[in-house]
Symmetry: C2
Subunit: 205 residues, 2 copies
């Protein structure tokens, strides 16, 4: 019944792990970094550049002031690249949804694929749990105090919210835009995956 | 593992039906209107009066202007009754949580019972689905157009949000205050009950 599952997630809440495990459990395709590679190939842009646009959510370059001027609007190359990357990303997501049942993490996929009636999940967790998760995943030798980790988490989430708002006109993480919001700090990732996959399998019967 | 389950809900989303079914499925006690009766008994207030305070969320009688005056603060009887009803309600909820596993709908129970580590669920649905549910439940002979139904729904939810904010200091329906938010328009009530009860039973093993 649910052939397309989209996952929005707070940074550090384990949304990516949830998505991967859910896809494995259901035998669905899983899309995340593969999409960046595909965009790079199709756009002839370097993979690092696409990644920077997609991951850092560059939307802030838009010259808001132009509406107030009478001068010819000169094109902003970064904004243009961002727009075209978004357009190609959309093509690729639609192709993925057409191809086979899939789980897609991030990328406004809940909105882009709205015609495919996706099961829209949002994964979140309490701030302390997210800091702990990020701390436990620091690379060997990497040092970062909890305050800095928390600052980074908030900064990434702020950028995700801005990106989502820009392309969808809606509020990122607002329950009304999702079918399920799950607090992994309370439920645990594996437990939450078991719960959702069992529900999806039962619906498919 | 989850002995106390609290359910917040948008009006018309089927939160009460979800709660009842979940309690039946798990063999948990279910509290809703019983609480009003218990408050009435303990407070010596009439059941109808308690119901009016609890259901209509009378918190707006508070004389905000008093802070700006030098006169002696005279007591507001409606506000006092509301405060005392809330205090008695808290006692009763705590007793319920101590007594046996239970499902409690509304009444800021997620906040009041926070020391009992409740599984905090919020039930919502798309506006159109809520209007439809309310329309299908109009009493025989009762007539109401969809616009009026929607207006009533919004008015009740606004009052719930205000009540929740007043007593908890938090935003009603904000995913961050819950462990799961479920859109019953997408998942269906019975399906959602099966999903959550299976998860809770698996945790109890």
């Amino acid at each position: 019944m649910y052939k397309v599952i989209t996952i929005g997630r707070e940074f550090g809440s384990g949304g990516r792990e949830f998505g991967k495990r859910l896809a494995a459990e259901l035998g669905y395709a899983y899309y995340d970094a593969e999409i960046i590679k595909a965009i790079a190939e199709r756009s002839d842009l370097a993979e690092e550049y696409v990644s920077q646009i997609v991951e850092n959510h560059i939307v802030s370059y838009y010259p808001i002031s132009v509406a107030n001027t009478f001068t010819t609007i000169t094109s902003d190359p970064v904004f243009d690249a961002s727009k075209s990357v978004f357009a190609i990303q959309k093509e690729i997501l639609v192709e993925a949804a057409e191809k086979s049942p899939c789980v897609i993490v991030g990328r406004c996929s809940d909105y882009i694929l709205r015609d495919y009636n996706p099961l829209r999940i949002f994964i979140h967790a309490d701030p302390a749990a997210r800091v702990e998760r990020c701390r436990s995943r620091l690379k060997e030798g990497e040092k970062m105090d909890d305050k800095t980790i928390e600052k980074n988490i908030n900064s990434i989430d702020k950028s995700r919210a801005k990106y989502y708002r820009f392309y969808t006109g809606k509020d990122w993480g607002d329950r009304r835009n999702y079918d399920m919001c799950i607090n992994t700090a309370k439920l645990g990732i594996k437990n939450a995956v078991n719960m959702v996959s069992a529900m999806i399998k039962a619906q498919a019967d």
